[in-house]
C-alpha cells in the first residue's frame, strides 16, 4: 500500500459517484466498487507531528464504501464482532445518509464508536468474516466497517448533540467499577443504565486507561476520547480519580464497609515483560508502557511544556510486533528519533498489529527487521546503550498459537548501532488486586479467573478486560465489560 493524497481519494470518489446508478445496484455492481482507502496525512509531514494520521473518510467515500456491503441475510460480520454490533444495519443507514440512525444502531452495542472505529483490529474480527472480501478472494478488500463506524461517530460528535441512553429509575443499589479503561467504562455505562448508582475508581489522574496512557494521540486524539467518555459519564457516574483499589481502599472494604453491592474489576494489563537478556538494565532501555506513558499521559511529546522527560535517541530499536510496538516505534519518530527499527522474530504475516498501523509505520520510514531477535544489548562504560546484538531466525513447525515457531539460526549474530531500545513484548498481570484480595483466584500468570458470566471466585465480584484476558484489545475488553454488567444487573435484580 503506498500513500495516496487525501484530495486525490476524494476526487476519485466524487467522479465514481457520478457514474453509479445507486437505485439498481446488483451484488456484482457492489463488488465492482473499489474499496475506499483511508485518507491520511502525508507521511513525511505526519512523522514529525502528533496530529491524527488518519483523517477519516470524505462523505463521498462513506457512501461508496457503505454501498459495497451486500447486506447478507446471515450477516457473518456480526459473529466476528465481540460486541455483536448490527453491522449491516448501521452500514445501510450510512449508505442512505442517515448518519444519526447509523450511529444509534452502533450505540445499542458499543458506547465508544469513535474509539472502536479507530482502534479495533477489524481485519481479524468483522472484516475477516465479510462476504465481499471472500467473494473478491482478498480479505483486505472486505467492507471497511471500522472506517464507516468512525465516520458516523465523528459526524455525531461534530453535530454537538450526542444521544444518551435511557436510564432506569434508581434502584438504591451501588456498584464499584475499578479502572476506567474500555472494560470499566462499558461496564459503568451498562450498570448505570439499569438504574444502579455507579462509582468509577481510577488510579491515574485521567480517565481512559490504556486509551489515554497507551494509544498515542496520532492514532486516537485525546479530545475524541475525552468527549466520548464525557458523554458516557453524563449518565451520572461518580468518579474517584487517584484512587488505587487494593491500596487506597481494600476491595473487600468496598463491599463490607462502604456499602457497595457488587464490584467490577477492570484494572487492565500490568507489569511489562522483558526478555531477561544481558543489557536490559542499561540507560536507554525502557518498556513500551513506560515510553508511551511518558509520551501520551504525561505529554512528553511537548518538551517545552511537559515536565516529564522522555528518552530520545537518534537510533531507536523497538522489539515486538503488536500494536504497542507500532505505537512506540511511530512515537519514537515523533519525539526525535532519526532512525527507527522494529525487530520481530517472525514474519510480517504473523505480526499481531493492525494492518493499517504496519502500513502507516512503513510509509513513515520505519525499518522492519523480520525473523530477527535480540540476543543482548550493548552499552558503553557509562552504562548507556550503544547497540543491540541480534540473531537471525527462520520459521519452523507451528506452535501452540498455530503460528510457525521461529527458530534461531546458529552463528547468525550481527550488531546494530542503537542508542535506545524499547521493549514491546506484552504485559504480565498487575499483582495488586490479587495480592491484596486473596479471595480472588488467579491463574499462574496472575490473571484473574472469571467464568462465562465474568464472575470471579469472590462473591459479588466480577472481572473483565486485560486483567482476565492478558494483553488483548479495546473491543474485547468492552465485550467483557458488557457481559459483566449484564451479570451484575441480573444479580442485583434478584
Amino acid at each position: 500500500m503506498s500513500y495516496i493524497p487525501a484530495e486525490k481519494l476524494r476526487d476519485e470518489a466524487r467522479e465514481l459517484i457520478e457514474k453509479i446508478d445507486f437505485s439498481a445496484l446488483k451484488p456484482k455492481d457492489r463488488l465492482a466498487i473499489p474499496m475506499q482507502e483511508m485518507p491520511a496525512q502525508e507521511p513525511s509531514v505526519r512523522a514529525k507531528n502528533i496530529q491524527e494520521v488518519a483523517i477519516g473518510y470524505f462523505e463521498e467515500q462513506v457512501r461508496l464504501e457503505a454501498e459495497r456491503c451486500l447486506q447478507c441475510k446471515n450477516a457473518p460480520c456480526i459473529k466476528g464482532c465481540p460486541v455483536a454490533i448490527d453491522i449491516p444495519g448501521f452500514i445501510k443507514a450510512a449508505a442512505e445518509g442517515d448518519y444519526q440512525k447509523s450511529v444509534n444502531i452502533i450505540k445499542n452495542n458499543s458506547m465508544l464508536p469513535a474509539i472502536c472505529g479507530r482502534v479495533c483490529p477489524q481485519e481479524t474480527q468483522c472484516m475477516a468474516e465479510c462476504t465481499v472480501g471472500k467473494s473478491l478472494k482478498d480479505m483486505d478488500k472486505s467492507v471497511a466497517i471500522g472506517r464507516i463506524e468512525r465516520f458516523v461517530a465523528d459526524w455525531e460528535r461534530e453535530q454537538g448533540r450526542m444521544s444518551l441512553p435511557e436510564i432506569a429509575p434508581a434502584t438504591g443499589k451501588k456498584v464499584a467499577i475499578i479502572g476506567s479503561g474500555p472494560a470499566g467504562l462499558t461496564a459503568a455505562a451498562d450498570v448505570r443504565k439499569a438504574g444502579h448508582e455507579v462509582v468509577l475508581f481510577e488510579a491515574f489522574h485521567k480517565l481512559g486507561g490504556v486509551m489515554i496512557y497507551g494509544i498515542p494521540e496520532f492514532r486516537l486524539p485525546k479530545v475524541i476520547l475525552d468527549k466520548e467518555i464525557e458523554n458516557l459519564l453524563s449518565m451520572g457516574v461518580t468518579i474517584k480519580k487517584n484512587f488505587l483499589v487494593g491500596r487506597t481502599r481494600k476491595l473487600s472494604d468496598l463491599l463490607e464497609k462502604d456499602g457497595f453491592d457488587a464490584v467490577f474489576v477492570g484494572t487492565g494489563a500490568g507489569l511489562p515483560n522483558f526478555m531477561n537478556i544481558e543489557g536490559e538494565g542499561l540507560v536507554g532501555v525502557s518498556s513500551a508502557n513506560e515510553f508511551l506513558t511518558r509520551a501520551n499521559l504525561m505529554k512528553a511529546y511537548t518538551p517545552d511544556k511537559a515536565d516529564t522527560p522522555i528518552f530520545t535517541g537518534k537510533k531507536t530499536a523497538v522489539v515486538g510486533g503488536g500494536n504497542v510496538a507500532m505505537d512506540a516505534a511511530r512515537m519514537a519518530l515523533r519525539v526525535g528519533a532519526e532512525e527507527v527499527y522494529v525487530i520481530y522474530r517472525r514474519t510480517e504475516k504473523e505480526m499481531p498489529a493492525r494492518r493499517e498501523e504496519i502500513a502507516h509505520a512503513k510509509e513513515e520510514g520505519i525499518t522492519f527487521l523480520f525473523l530477527t531477535n535480540p540476543k543482548r544489548i550493548i552499552g558503553d562504560k557509562d552504562g548507556k546503550v550503544t547497540g543491540i546484538e541480534c540473531l537471525k531466525y527462520e520459521l519452523g513447525e507451528p506452535d501452540d498459537s498455530g503460528r510457525r515457531k521461529p527458530v534461531e539460526i546458529k552463528g547468525s549474530e550481527f550488531v546494530l548501532e542503537m542508542d535506545s531500545v524499547i521493549m514491546a513484548l506484552g504485559n504480565s498481570s498487575n499483582p495488586l488486586i490479587s495480592h491484596t484480595t486473596p479471595e480472588i483466584n488467579v491463574n499462574r500468570w496472575g490473571n484473574i479467573l472469571a467464568d462465562g458470566d465474568q464472575k470471579t471466585s469472590m462473591d459479588r465480584v466480577y472481572a473483565g478486560g486485560d486483567i482476565v484476558l492478558g494483553a488483548a484489545t479495546v473491543i474485547l475488553a468492552m465485550g467483557e465489560g458488557r457481559k459483566a454488567a449484564e451479570s451484575i444487573n441480573k444479580l442485583l435484580a434478584e
Binding site: A203, F204, H205, N242, F243, L244, T248, A269, G270, S287
Partner: protein, 284 residues
Amino acid sequence: MSRVLEKTQLSRDVFQLVLEAPEIARERRAGQFVILQADSDYSERIPLTIADADETVGSITVIFQVVGKSTLKLAQLNAGDVVENVLGPLGMPTHIEKVGTVVCVGGGIGVAPLHPIAQAMKKAGNRVIIIMGARTKELLILEDEMRAIADEFIVCTDDGSYGRKDLVTVPLKEICEKGGVDLAVAIGPAIMMKFCAETTRPFGVKTFASLNTIMVDGTGMCGGCRVTVGGKTKFVCVDGPEFDAHEVDFDNMMLRQRSYKPQEQEANHKCRLQQAVDELQEHK
C-alpha cells in the same frame, strides 16, 4: 485534589508539606509512599515516602528535597494551595515485628521515610538504635523526632559540623561488632545504602533498604522502577520499595537513576534562571 495544610522549610532545599488526604492517612502503613503531581496537564508525577500521617485530622506529611523543576514547583506551594493529584498509599508496607534490636540508618533526606519505620519498630517492642547522617549540620532533618524514638542515638556529619565526623557506616560497623543486632534498615542515597549493606554483610545482619528509583505510574504498569534483586527483575512500586539490601544491585540502580540527568539538569537550570528573573522583576 489535596489541600496543603502546612508548609515548613526544614533546611535550605528541604521542605515539609502536610497534605489533606484522609483516605491515604487511614490506610497507610510505615514504608509506603505516595505520588504527587502539582497539576494534571504537564506536571511530573513524583514518588515521595509518607513521613508521617494523622488519621484523626486526615493528613499525611511528605518531605522532599528540591532537586529539579518539579520539586521546586512543589516547594513553591503554601498552606491553602492545592496539589491536584495525590495517589496512595503505594508499595508494600514494611514488615514490622518484634525481632529484638533494630538499627535504623538514615542519610540526608532518607531520614524522612525512615521516621515512620523507626516509630513502628519501636512500637512493636524493639530496641531501636538510630544513626542519622548528613553532609553538614544544616542538612540534618527530624533530629528531635528521631531522638525521641531512639534507645540509642548517633548523629554524624561528613564535615564534622555536628555530631561525629564520620560516614554513617563507621558507627554502624562499631554496633555490628558489638553484636546483638537483629535487623538493620538503611534509607538514604543509593551509595550510602550500598555501603551500609556491605558493612552489615560480614556480620550476617539482615538489612533492608528502601529504594527510590525513577517511576511514572507507581502502580505496576510502566516498569521504569525495575531493579535487579538477587539476579531477578523486581519492580520497586509493587514488589518494594523495601528489599533485602544484600541482594540489591545498587550499581545498576544508581546507573538507571541517572537516566534523565541531562534533561533534568536542563529543566532545573531553566527554571532557576526563570526564578531569578522573576525575583529581579519583583524587586523593580
